[in-house]
């Protein structure tokens, strides 16, 4: 339990710093940036206190906002995906999730990609629509969502594969 907490706290700090200092400045082909800091939300242990989880997601988003001068857009997007996580878990993993003993390192790769993809798309859609905040620029929102989502998905998968500690 204790090591789990330490693990999550390190993840929180490291992901925020990595987002602020590295991933916000990638600017691939001009302006495409990934947002892999949401890995904290994606990989948060499942059978846990939901109120605490939503609050932590809010703080995560707020810190990223603080660094990137974006008002509260990251916080809003993070809170939403934290709230929408259980239905998507159920959709992506089906029966395993019902038994409440899911461990992300033991799940099938395909399921995990679907789960990541859904949450990433929701997050990015809210993020960019709030950031641009203009109905007439809806095409720009969709375009940014698409490109950033692909980028984030690839990075999230790479990071989660690289840092997964499989005992078997």
């Amino acid at each position: 339990m204790n090591s789990l907490n330490i693990n999550n706290i390190t993840r929180f700090v490291v992901l925020i710093l990595a987002q602020a200092l590295i991933f916000n400045h990638i600017n691939f082909v001009g302006s495409v940036n990934p947002y892999p800091y949401i890995l904290f939300i994606l990989l948060f242990p499942v059978n846990n206190n939901r109120t605490l989880f939503i609050f932590l997601s809010f703080m995560l988003g707020l810190f990223v906002d603080l660094f990137s001068d974006s008002g509260g857009v990251h916080a809003a997007a993070c809170v939403t995906i934290a709230f929408a996580r259980p239905p998507i878990l159920k959709f992506a993993f089906g029966m395993i999730y019902e038994h409440q003993n899911i461990k992300f390192s033991n799940t099938e790769f395909g399921n995990r990609v679907i789960y990541f993809l859904f949450l990433i798309i929701i997050h990015h859609l809210i993020l960019f629509s709030l950031e641009i905040f203009n109905i007439s620029n809806i095409l720009l929102v969709l375009k940014k969502t698409l490109f950033s989502s692909v980028f984030t998905l690839i990075l999230c998968i790479l990071i989660s594969v690289l840092f997964s500690n499989k005992q078997q």
Binding site: N27, T51, F58, G61, L66, D69, V79, T80
Partner: protein
């Protein structure tokens, strides 16, 4: 009463979600109005400190290009001094020290965080109130304008970049006095737009655009960019001009901050009945 408490306890997750979501929306909307985003900005001691220590390291990687830019500027200024000594001072020259003298205070600072990929971009610089900075000061480089300071803390300040859909700066054609306002449509970090230029203005491709004298923030004649493309508005009365910036906004380091010492007086004259 019992039922209300039960309802709150039963739905505490959803209620917490709604509460936090509305807090973030409120912060977002607040950040859309100028000068209001006091809490969530990168000019505080915590984020500013982290950015400064990171930029202390990353600075070494572009020392060479920054040196070249400085040498180029020295070259330009030196040639101005030498040529100004033997010829008569022309009133059209854009850095004319006689008109600037006494009205503007200039100081230098360094950018520690530069953003240009979102639709609302800000820069963070390593000087703040302790160094005499305040809101509404102009920020330029040797090549052209960068933005306006919109938030300060003791040691750091945040600059509202011209690459921000909130930014609106008075600008004019260099060849004539037709003025318009400089905005950004969030499409490219190398292009900004000049709107509200009268259709009688003689616009040509390649014309230089400079800041106008109508604002109390920027001195007149700071270079902005050249006309890349222009078209009449839907109404047919004004031009919207695409401007290619002189500055490479993706590679900024050393900046100059200009304070108009007469700004207070101009503002007082313009708004005799204060709000």
């Amino acid at each position: 009463m019992q039922q209300i408490i039960n309802f709150v306890i039963r739905n505490k997750t959803s209620l917490l979600f709604l509460l936090l979501f509305f807090v973030s929306i409120a912060l977002t909307i607040q950040s859309h109005s100028y000068h209001k985003s006091k809490f969530i900005n990168s000019a505080n001691f915590f984020t500013g400190g982290i950015y400064e220590s990171a930029s202390n390291i990353s600075n070494y990687f572009n020392l060479k290009t920054q040196n070249e830019i400085l040498a180029e500027e020295n070259n330009y200024l030196r040639s101005q001094i030498l040529n100004g000594l033997d010829s008569t001072v022309t009133s059209t020259s854009k850095i004319d020290s006689t008109t600037y003298n006494g009205h503007y205070k200039i100081q230098t600072a360094k950018i520690i965080n530069n953003n240009y990929s979102t639709s609302k971009n800000y820069l963070t610089i390593n000087q703040g109130e302790n160094h005499g900075l305040k809101e509404d000061l102009a920020v330029i480089t040797s090549k052209g304008i960068v933005g306006i300071i919109d938030n300060t803390s003791n040691r750091y300040s945040r600059v509202l970049s011209i690459l921000n859909t909130k930014s609106k700066i008075n600008a004019q054609l260099k060849s004539s006095n037709h003025i318009g306002s400089l905005v950004w449509n969030a499409k490219s970090s190398a292009m900004v737009q000049l709107t509200d230029i009268s259709k009688f203005a003689p616009v040509k491709q390649g014309d230089t655009i400079v800041t106008g004298g109508q604002s109390s923030i920027f001195p007149q004649g700071i270079p902005i960019g050249v006309v890349d493309n222009f078209a009449l508005d839907i109404s047919g009365d004004t031009y919207t001009i695409d401007i290619k910036l002189f500055n490479d906004m993706t590679n900024l380091s050393h900046i100059y901050i200009i304070e108009n010492l007469d700004a207070e007086e101009i503002k007082k004259l313009e708004n005799p009945i204060n709000e």
